[in-house]
Amino acid sequence: MKIQYKGIRSWLLTMDHKRIAILYLFSILFWFLLAVLIGGLLRFELMFRGQTILSAELYNSAFTLHGVIMIFLFIIPGIPAIFGNFFLPIQIGTDDVYFPRLNLLSWYLYMAGGGIAIVSLFSSGFPDTGWTFYVPFSISTKTNVSTAVFAAFVLGMASMLTGLNFITTIHRMRHKDMGWMQIPLFTWSLYATSWVQLLATPVISITLLLVIIERYFNVGLFDPAKGGDPILYQHLFWMYSHPAVYIMILPGMGVISEIIPVFARKSIFGYKAIVASSMAIAIAGSLVWAHHMYTSGMSDTAIFVFSLLTFVVAIPSAIKVFSWVSTLYKGSIQMTPPLFLALCFIYLFSVGGLTGLVLGAVGPDIHVHDTHFVVSHFHFTMFGGTGFAFFAALHYWWPKMFGRMYDFKKAYIGAILLTGGFMFHYVPMFILGLQGLPRRYFDYLPQYETGNFYAGFGAAFMIVGIFLMVINLLSSLKKEKDASSDPWGGTTLEWQTPSPPPLHNFITEPEILAYPYDFSGVVERYSKDDKGE
């Protein structure tokens, strides 16, 4: 049985997956908003030529900090640790994850990682290497790389343990009536993600350890003067960090696969294809890491092979996009903030994916490598993709997590500001990149001023939109609990339990549908309600 504490201990010592998810929610939101503001500072600095508010050194540390926080403290844990923790056990009809204590430990490791990152801020300066920590600079720079890298190492462990927990839970704790092809797509996407987390994260762990070892012992494993090969660092780094982008996007795709059918009142198109594409992305995504290294001095054969494989990864992603759009076709669409954000996701993610093909092809990549084009591309996929999926998930599951519905109007305004600002922010960066403005530069030539000015302008709208959405959600907490157990008309198991769910998740035995996206019951219920009024 679960031990119940009172007061603050009921949170800090909790082993309830729902409480741990909420702990994650607020800690991740804190880091996210902080990194958003740092990103805003960067764009403000770049709006005008010359020094505006940040010195050049501070600028270097600021973009590193923005990257490290966004990657390791927000996008990677974001959806799995919050929504995965909260809804994975409920969606498979059980009462907790398999290792509840390990789950709490993961949260503490997450907090420790964040804490260590803060420590490195105040001791001899945060690294100015960029979040990639490329050698030789990361080994020779005087800033505190070791501590920051160790923070990333600890955060990697938290992520790995979450993955381990989820895989075991899905294998061992599923409701006895639920077969593999009855698992909701969000849980399926987490299953695929967990495998990548488990098998790819150790590579970054050892790579980061090697950076620390090099800094203290100067072994020279990546130092050409001592016989080492710096390109091997990049191989090891991207061996994790490319699969990591699928750790970031797969759960987001899972969220969208949940939201679209609910608000189209129609069974998801191609359930099995989406499941298969999740697994295919997880596998194929591990074969393409060196497409980040076309200009690093790698062999031409490798460039050819990795470019070819990169194009293969586009296929499963496209299968998903087509399935979502086909689900909407002839559906009975009900517009809500989560659906709105999901639709924005599809558009923005498609742009991000297609520009990825520009970068995956060697010729154009040589031209735009390490320019603002790349920055814009990965923000379209990571922010326009995962970030929007995160907000969609927040709006979709908020009433279930807290039992309160938020104000739709403010949510729409926030989402529109975010999307509009997003386009204003990142489209100019595509153009700047094509014109040749390198990334991570503190200053630029006069011809790039207009684009940078517009980008900074869009950033302001984005920040306002994000804060409006978050404040709107938080202010709903002051209200009485008013959300019904199934405010949207969903079919997965989380909608069969009260909002918020009780300690053991279900009051009555959950009823497992033969097919998880069978809306005939929901449609019948709603049409009865219509007639009744």
């Binding site: 049985m1 679960k2 082993m15 009462d95 907790d96 398999y98 290792f99 509840p100 390990l102 790995m160 993955g163 381990l164 927990n165 895989i167 075991t168 294998h171 061992r172 704790m173 488990l198 098998l199 790819a200 994260t201 150790p202 590579v203 762990s205 050892i206 790579t207 350890l209 090697l210 070892i213 012992f217 100067n218 072994v219 020279g220 494993l221 001592k226 016989g227 080492g228 090969d229 091997l232 191989h235 090891l236 061996m239």
Partner: protein, 198 residues
């Protein structure tokens, strides 16, 4: 949380953790493979400087300790507590001897001027520097794993002694054993790659 202990899930969790350990060492073996293919000659020269008798001794010690742990897992299922305790104690002792050997081996090398960033290595052939760099990093990481494994075995030993690990509930012992075997498994690959290159 689980009304009945589902031991097989704990074992699955442990295996998943072992996969992460395999990949962790895998990253270093990527480096080994690349540098071996680049500096095959230097690696062979450098390999001769390692004491293969000591390497062989350590291999036999680890293999025996693995056998002892496997026997302990069998013993607990046969309700032979004393045999289980003996097996665990033998394995822990083997781990200790392994570390002592390693200590002398490293000490001897360091005395001979072979250590990371040493004058002799940096000014010598590049391949030898890579060989010994990897030697120190890989065996060092392996040594840390030996220490972790020994800790797990000691905890298991205490729990068996106190009757907390029984023939009905021995997941902790089994998982500690799995960890120990993995450490042995990695050594099985380290041994020929460093000590037996001619």
């Amino acid at each position: 949380m689980h009304s009945q202990p589902d031991e097989s899930g704990k074992k699955l969790g442990m295996w998943l953790f072992l996969y992460t350990e395999i990949i962790l060492f895998g990253g270093l073996f990527v480096l080994y493979a690349v540098y071996f293919s680049t500096y095959a000659h230097d690696f062979k020269e450098a390999g001769k400087e390692l004491n293969r008798l000591l390497g062989l001794l350590n291999t036999v010690i680890l293999l025996f300790s693995s056998f002892a742990v496997a026997a302990a897992v069998t013993a607990i299922q046969k309700k032979e507590k004393k045999t289980a305790l003996a097996g665990l104690a033998a394995a822990i002792l083997c781990g200790l001897i392994f570390l002592v050997n390693k200590y002398f081996e490293w000490g001897h090398k360091i005395e001979g001027g072979i250590y990371p960033n040493s004058e002799k290595l940096v000014s010598g052939p590049h391949g030898q520097n890579m060989f010994f760099g990897l030697y120190y990093v890989i065996t060092g990481l392996h040594g840390i794993h030996i220490i972790i494994g020994m800790t797990l075995l000691i905890v298991s030993l205490i729990f068996v002694q106190r009757g907390k690990i029984t023939f009905e509930r021995f997941a902790l012992l089994e998982n500690s054993g799995l960890y120990w075997h993995l450490v042995d498994l990695i050594w099985i690959f380290i041994f020929p790659l460093f000590y037996l290159i001619i």
